[in-house]
Subunit: 411 residues, 2 copies
Amino acid sequence: MISLADLQRRIDANELSPEKALAQSVAAIDAQETALRAFVCRDDAPRAQTSGPLRGIAVGIKDIIDTADFPTEMGSRIYRGNRPRVDAPIVMLLKRAGATIIGKTETTAFAANDPTPTLNPHNHGHTPGGSSSGSAAAVGAGMIPLALGTQTAGSVIRPASYCGAAAIKPSFHLLPKVGVKCFSWTLDTVGLFAAGVEDLARALAAITGRTELLPGAIAAPKIGVVTQDFAGAPDAAGAEALRIAGRAAERAGASLSELKMPDVIAEAWRIHYVVQEFEAHQAFAWEYLENYEAMPPLLRGRLDASKGITAAEYDAARAVMVQARAALAEAFREVDVLLTLSAPGAAPKGLTSTGDPRYNRLWTLTGNPCVNVPAFTAEGGLPVGVQVIGAYGDDARALAAARFLEAALAR
Amino acid sequence: MISLADLQRRIDANELSPEKALAQSVAAIDAQETALRAFVCRDDAPRAQTSGPLRGIAVGIKDIIDTADFPTEMGSRIYRGNRPRVDAPIVMLLKRAGATIIGKTETTAFAANDPTPTLNPHNHGHTPGGSSSGSAAAVGAGMIPLALGTQTAGSVIRPASYCGAAAIKPSFHLLPKVGVKCFSWTLDTVGLFAAGVEDLARALAAITGRTELLPGAIAAPKIGVVTQDFAGAPDAAGAEALRIAGRAAERAGASLSELKMPDVIAEAWRIHYVVQEFEAHQAFAWEYLENYEAMPPLLRGRLDASKGITAAEYDAARAVMVQARAALAEAFREVDVLLTLSAPGAAPKGLTSTGDPRYNRLWTLTGNPCVNVPAFTAEGGLPVGVQVIGAYGDDARALAAARFLEAALAR
């Protein structure tokens, strides 16, 4: 993979020009894109900026995010040729920080379940996951050092786990989602993919101007392990990743304890679906009511199945969400971060399914920062990650603990 | 004004066809639009739908809300000729309920301060207020029975007060704001203008499917009067409106008490600006950074002035907001609703200013439902309203108490 931190250091030291840093990504894309199909479209003649902390950094943008310089087709023929007038704020923040938008990455249609043609860079017979398929694959394959994704259930952390990339779904509200196609306004969160946790921290600091995100690993974090039994049992590879990550952290000096979650947390896991689907019926009202036949079949089927959710059920679900957020905040009184599964296991075989977000959806509902750290390589060369979860608003500590874990796993 | 409730009743009783109900609006617009300039564009041949609770109801849509059938120009030359592919969800919800979108209404550029050419229907020498200028004027003038506005500080309740219309800014999250040009994602709220409170309740119930919004006035509400001293003193006309509304409510059987707000509420009033401007710099990143010269001058000046707000100040402001929401929830243990000023006084003279949102911004920050009820006619025939404020999520009670007050004032 291409390390953003490494490029930044060499560019800052004048050992590498931004143009050459960018050219490295272009060459890597040229070498792999035909096989992997991570991009929907690309800039044919990208130029590096000469200033800004992200100068020379090629960024891929998930194709549900508006860009003025590229079509934004949402993975759906309903938006074929759609060309926004405006860059989404998150794209403007990247450009303002010096980054070069290298192209748009494949997304499942409307960031739902209908798969893309993208292949897993570690094993072409497997899915890269979704919905941020192209962003995860492009970073995991070493084509680009940074990519944007979005997560409504598990669309950043799960594909990162499958593709062996680091990723962060920051605290809800940290990154603007104006100009990002809406699935659920309560859940949709913009996230980042990069080679490692330091790369994520540097990118997030550059985008937001929040320098508190930069410091390195914390020593000896208190880690609460959460098995998410309410979400069912993981595959062997998922369980193994969590075991390996926990053992590595303990050996490196962390104190681990298994945290039992209060009942409202399991209930929150269950009602994520209600919030997501109720809002999706409004968010996709135009597509579903005016373009029913052209809707992606899996998403259309989901919307057909969730038509009956009532406003009262939605209100009750939101009330559970509020209680769960408070309960989770309590849990963080005893630990620095939580450690849990990023996905049930390695990437599923074939391209018919993008995998199961069941270990992700709770944390999207609660809005906590989640960082995927690759932990284990399963059969077939497929990576499996774990996620480090911070208190709401404490992205700095989530990143610092994830760096600790990453270093522990590298020993 | 045209009463939506009255049209609904007559259409339901087959005394009036939806087509004839719609024609009444078209005739009223034709008679007054040249003088008032409430609309940016209109449907030349509008058709009534034959089913749905809002059949025959002509609705005006503030021109920062995406419509597939009309340009959406945001009140700014930067968006001249902009034609969205998609109807915003709130527009789809209206159409699904049977309404006819009659046209787009004038908005201050990007819903900020730069005025529109719209005149106050009660006195052409005065502003209709803003930013939802055309929607407030069109309903206040009796051109249409229903219009959409949006409020980030005071852009629904204040122009409603100035134009003598009823209006509701519902609880934050009740109406979807996907496809509405963003100013501040924490604050922006879609609201409705109509002739009276029953009309608002019927429209909101039809849009959301929430029948609990429909019942009539509550008897003898407990009302907490809030003077908002932290926002400065009102004009004589504003103070008079609040006095008259309080007295009418008391005579009709309400129990009134003046509620002192805790200090965090005043602090929340002060930091509304920080949340609004910090997010606006991200929301308008493309316009401000790529189209600086074409930006509306008042908004551009505001953004120039607020450049220095830091992420730390924003985080602190959001923390105050969270505390204020909790403190306000406590206040509702003792009363059914709050009663306070909708605006400092009557609509200012001339069109250079759209008035001052200082009595509105707190309640936009806290997300509580606010209903404007016309209370008093000041010199020059200018209406002055008061606002009834409900607990978060209790739009039904806010509407029921506003109906009580409206009836009390009519005696």
